[in-house]
């Protein structure tokens, strides 16, 4: 029954369209801060597309890389949390338990990907924007660390559904909001323990790599590197 949820992101397909970011905001009740706070670096995007320039004009290229919580198997954020708010669950998720978090922000320091976000303030929605909030997901208050959960609410709901129908969760049945929305299907989500799942097959690709693999965090977000075409360039 246990799974090892993982995501494969094909950087060759990713166009930097940021649909995943908007989808994540909508699904996970992520607050918008405001211009002033955003200028101070407090904007919250559990997933965001990092852009890296290569070269100089005119031979310039930009690389896009969606970065979210990498759900490391050996996560640096977990052992440093004094209250077990960050811990590893049986499905291989880096869980973040909001009610257990006291806001030491140690995990955020330890995370090499800076994938963790802190609620510097109590989030505020101008009414009636709050009507959009997803009731399946907590609305976090000030002082709590949060991050990508691989849309845990969807995982739980799917598992409950599967159990009610007395069957296993199918490959591709769980789709985090970003995966669901990605127009180029650059993102694939699934169970790494199932050798036939799409993620497993993609993770075996020659192009598969992980972010900052030299740190030994063993992430479960696997990137497929961008290719160049036909040797034309």
């Amino acid at each position: 029954m246990a799974h090892r949820w993982a995501m494969v992101i094909d950087l060759d397909r990713c166009t930097g369209c940021e649909t995943c970011m908007a989808a994540c905001h909508a699904e996970n009740n992520i607050a918008t801060v405001d211009a002033k706070q955003a200028a101070r670096g407090r904007a919250m995007h559990w997933i965001h597309v990092e852009r890296y320039w290569e070269g100089e004009f005119p031979n310039v290229r930009a690389r896009f890389q969606p970065v979210l919580c990498q759900q490391c198997d050996a996560a640096p954020c977990e052992p440093v949390c004094p209250t077990y708010a960050a811990y590893h669950n049986e499905d291989g998720l880096n869980a973040q338990v909001y009610n257990r978090c006291i806001g030491t922000r140690y995990c955020a320091n330890a995370c090499p990907y800076t994938a963790r976000y802190f609620n510097w303030w109590n989030p505020v929605w101008d009414k009636p924007l709050q009507l959009q909030l997803n009731p399946d997901v907590s609305v976090r208050e000030a002082g709590i660390m949060e991050k990508c959960t691989f849309c845990n609410q969807r995982i739980v709901a799917t598992e409950i559904q599967a159990k009610a129908e007395n069957r296993e969760v199918q490959d591709g049945e769980v789709k985090p909001a970003c995966v669901q929305s990605c127009p180029t299907t650059a993102m694939v989500f699934g169970d790494l323990d199932d050798p036939n799942s799409q993620v497993s097959r993609l993770a075996r690709s020659m192009r598969a790599t992980t972010l900052l693999s030299e740190l030994g965090t063993n992430p479960k977000v696997i990137y497929l590197e961008r290719e160049s075409s036909h040797g034309n360039d």
Partner: protein, 234 residues
Amino acid sequence: MNNAQNEKTPGSSEGKEKTSADRFHRDWLVVSIAVVGLAVAATMWVSAARGMLEGQDSSPAAGAPAVSTPEQVPAVFTTARRSFFSAVQEYFGVQGTPVQPVQFNHSIHIKNGLQCAGCHSGVTQGPDAGIPSVSFCMACHQAIATDKPEIKKLTVYAVKGREPPWQPVFWFYPEVHVRFRHAPHIRNGIACEQCHGDLSKETVAVRSKELTMNFCLTCHKANAVSVDCVTCHY
């Protein structure tokens, strides 16, 4: 030679000390009380200043609904506690006793053969059990027991096109971040009274069981279901 003590008995100097000593502790009391008082005042003032913006923390409005205007409602939705006192209450997990607008009698309904899921119909299908709308109540009570004072109250609501402001009996503070789902529990044969108590013995529902995390865990452990934090907290 020994440093022999040519001891002066502290005569005159003692008197001086006495007066200075009196001043000493009086002043000290004042200073320390002032410091502590200011600190407490600071905390409360800061919290209260925000609390005032977001409306007063008043007792539950029972009975007939009052006319309300948008001005009474804060223009923003926030997770911030309403006031210093509500923060303290939440801190200590104090939930208070709900006052229901209509004294709904659970036991009579159960005695008359109604099932829990008959009214709380969401319980088998989704996370929330739900409270039926007044129109649902009126389906029966247009004819049944219309002379009872509580039913009359209910009828007033229905005629006005209003829902009675039912107060939740079993609930969690948002801060505990629990996503409880009824349906899987019902599917797995957990009886309602296991968590909500025997409502056939209660009239107006009361919080007969404290739904603490330990309460959940005990059962989860006994039934060998997941005790993973993110099964419920997300």
